[in-house]
Subunit: 408 residues, 2 copies
């Protein structure tokens, strides 16, 4: 059997390993200070609360049900908690507006499956979350650039989509402390994207895994909340909100959700049924118990820790970066996005950085669907303590200064 390639579907040609995941394997060395991984600090997980939850479920008469097949929509108890959570964010909804997914990544895959035929267009920002591109790529779309700041006409998007052989199916955005830039969309930008989607008659995909990680600044309403307010309720909204417990409580249970009009949720339930039947009931029940008991206190505690790390990294950047380097000042999340002076390639820099300075980060080009962004990098402050942040940024600043000087 030496002919596998000829048996694969067309879409297989677009499936590539995440450069970042591959990179992270190389960077995982004990003597390297890493700002590369985009993961929450495992020391912050509420392990005791999870231990208690699993013990109480498996020790009760709930055990048989928790270990059996479950409904594709998800556990009523967890959907009910999420419903209240969404209401607290300004989204009036019922349990029927919520589908439990195995992480928000699965939500993105299902959304691609529901909307994208080969040649259809998905609008995404430059740079954007790489995992979304990977999820959508399985359905062979074209990508066009969604730029909340630019005044591109809807007709221009439509023309380009039609040239690509389909139509614009959705605009994908991550409005709060986005991966990789850490930046948020203003209220005005959110409204403009909704207006554009209205003109295009397309859906809006709001990817909100970092929503609960705001450290300062005023909260901005989710796009779905704005949509409900202007369209007359969730059943008339065009926005699908993808939520996640991965950054707030634990990514290990792989639990997220989609909140949207019932009609869309019903379609997504069929996709869930055909693709993995249901998300594990045991995990959903455990997460419901943990969310009910510690969500508020736990996320408040995590926010305090991450805020101080963000502050430490911003201060270190201020102190150690040479002139000509710019960076974002995110109000939440896990990432700071750094722009180096033109002509400096962050991928080249990484090699020297890991060898000589013993500091790791993610070069930014991978996040750009068009191959630009060579002079950008993503720094994550989520897993490093203050000492490592100060030491790592200081070494990185020195290396960048040397690199800039050598290019003069």
């Amino acid at each position: 059997m030496t002919t596998w390639d000829s048996l694969y579907a067309n879409r297989a040609a677009r499936m590539r390993a995440s450069e970042i995941r591959e990179l992270l394997k190389l960077l995982d060395k004990p003597d390297v200070i890493s700002f590369a991984g985009g993961i929450p600090d495992p020391k912050l997980f509420p392990a005791d609360a999870f231990k208690e939850a699993y013990a109480s479920i498996l020790g009760s008469n709930e055990a048989e049900r928790a270990l059996q097949y479950g409904v594709s929509e998800g556990s009523p108890r967890l959907r009910s908690w999420i419903m209240d959570h969404m209401k607290s964010l300004g989204v009036p909804c019922s349990e029927d507006n919520i589908l439990i997914t195995s992480g928000s990544q699965q939500g993105l895959d299902y959304i691609g499956k529901l909307f994208l035929s080969a040649g259809d267009t998905a609008l995404v920002q430059w740079p954007t979350y790489l995992g979304a591109i990977q999820a959508f790529n399985s359905y062979e779309p074209s990508f066009d650039r969604l730029d909340p700041g630019a005044n591109r006409e809807a007709s221009d998007y439509q023309l380009r989509a039609s040239e690509a052989g389909g139509s614009v199916k959705f605009a994908y955005l991550s409005p709060d402390f986005a991966n990789p830039t850490g930046q948020s969309l203003t209220l005005d930008e959110r409204q403009r994207i909704l207006a554009l989607a209205n003109e295009l008659s397309c859906a809006v995909i709001e990817d909100a895994p970092y929503q609960s990680m705001r450290y300062d600044g005023d909260p901005v309403a989710p796009v779905l909340a704005l949509d409900c307010a202007t369209s007359g309720g969730i059943e008339k909204s065009r926005t699908l909100y993808c939520g996640s417990f991965s950054k707030s409580l634990s990514p290990g249970l792989r639990l997220g959700w989609i909140c949207a009009a019932r009609e869309v949720i019903a379609r997504l339930v069929l996709i869930k049924q055909a693709s993995d039947l249901n998300t594990p009931v045991l995990n959903q029940e455990a997460m419901a118990q943990v969310a009910e008991t510690v969500f508020e206190a736990h996320t408040a505690n995590s926010r305090a820790v991450y805020k101080s790390r963000r502050d430490a990294m911003l201060a270190a950047l201020e102190n150690h970066m040479p002139a000509g380097v710019r960076w974002t000042r995110p109000e939440g999340g896990m990432f700071i996005w750094v722009e180096l002076p033109d002509g400096i390639d962050a991928a080249d820099l990484l090699e020297k950085s890991v060898e000589a300075a013993k500091v790791a980060f993610v070069p930014g080009r991978a996040f750009h669907a068009d191959g630009t962004g060579a002079n950008t990098m993503r720094l994550s402050f989520s897993c490093a303590d203050h000492e490592k942040i100060e030491k790592g940024v200081s070494r990185l600043g020195r290396l960048i200064a040397e690199t800039v000087t050598s290019k003069l």
Copy 2:
């Protein structure tokens, strides 16, 4: 937003709710004896072993890792157990030949995603597992009939596939105690399907969720084991084996696997990464611990229980079914397949049966891709005790006898 239909991908037209899942909701009444559900008996789950496993992982320094993101391939410990298990079935392999999936249903979805472009052909048996049809339907294939008993030429399959706009990508089969018929493929039939796949240069998908549920008769080697033996090893095999813990230990953790050539596993890992990043590490570690400690003893115990229920149902059928009714005598699994005399429609019968006889089953037409099979039904003996089996089959026999008489 009233135009969702126009936004959906072409494939959405083929996504329908499982008639059986919908049916099961209606049949779930306390006074009805149900032979309908195709699920394992929850009273047999090793709940204590799972309780102990979760407690020990979450109470140790493993907790942080178990609650964090994990590798897409799956947990090394669980893959290692599965590798040994596959070796015990006659499949020489390494951990690199194994991908952990969220149930074997997810394996079928990924296989559809990897191989099927719209218009390609998947060969399936009539009747076949409905969940496989649903999983593959997302990728818009044509289905053609795989009949291990018929002598159809490879060229005939190829011609038909080419007329449908693609080529034959794989033959899908469930060789042991298949859902819905309970029947197994003989060694000769397995060899013939492999030979056909060789001629067609296509893959073979071996769906084996019931493999560990043999109650009597001699074990027959998995198709993958036969393929390895004739082709010269797993790296040269064309067979993908889908395994599952759902029937042997618990379906609630949603854990299955695909065992195949490394090259194919590497492709499937990319699909896993893009679709849900990884299966929960915590569940994989817990399952590894439970499998290592109780798999042999637990499955032996379950087999004894299910065997006695199968025997009870076969005896009751013998005692209570009128002449002209035929049924399979499965050597394992959970299902007996019943053929009623021509002209009796099992869907019509079900209505009367639930109303008057208070017995539920699944009419067989849903399992036939071509809409035939109106006079067939699936009976499951997995969740009913001897008393219910005797009482239920006796009532059903009486109803069928009356129905036959009224048609004379």
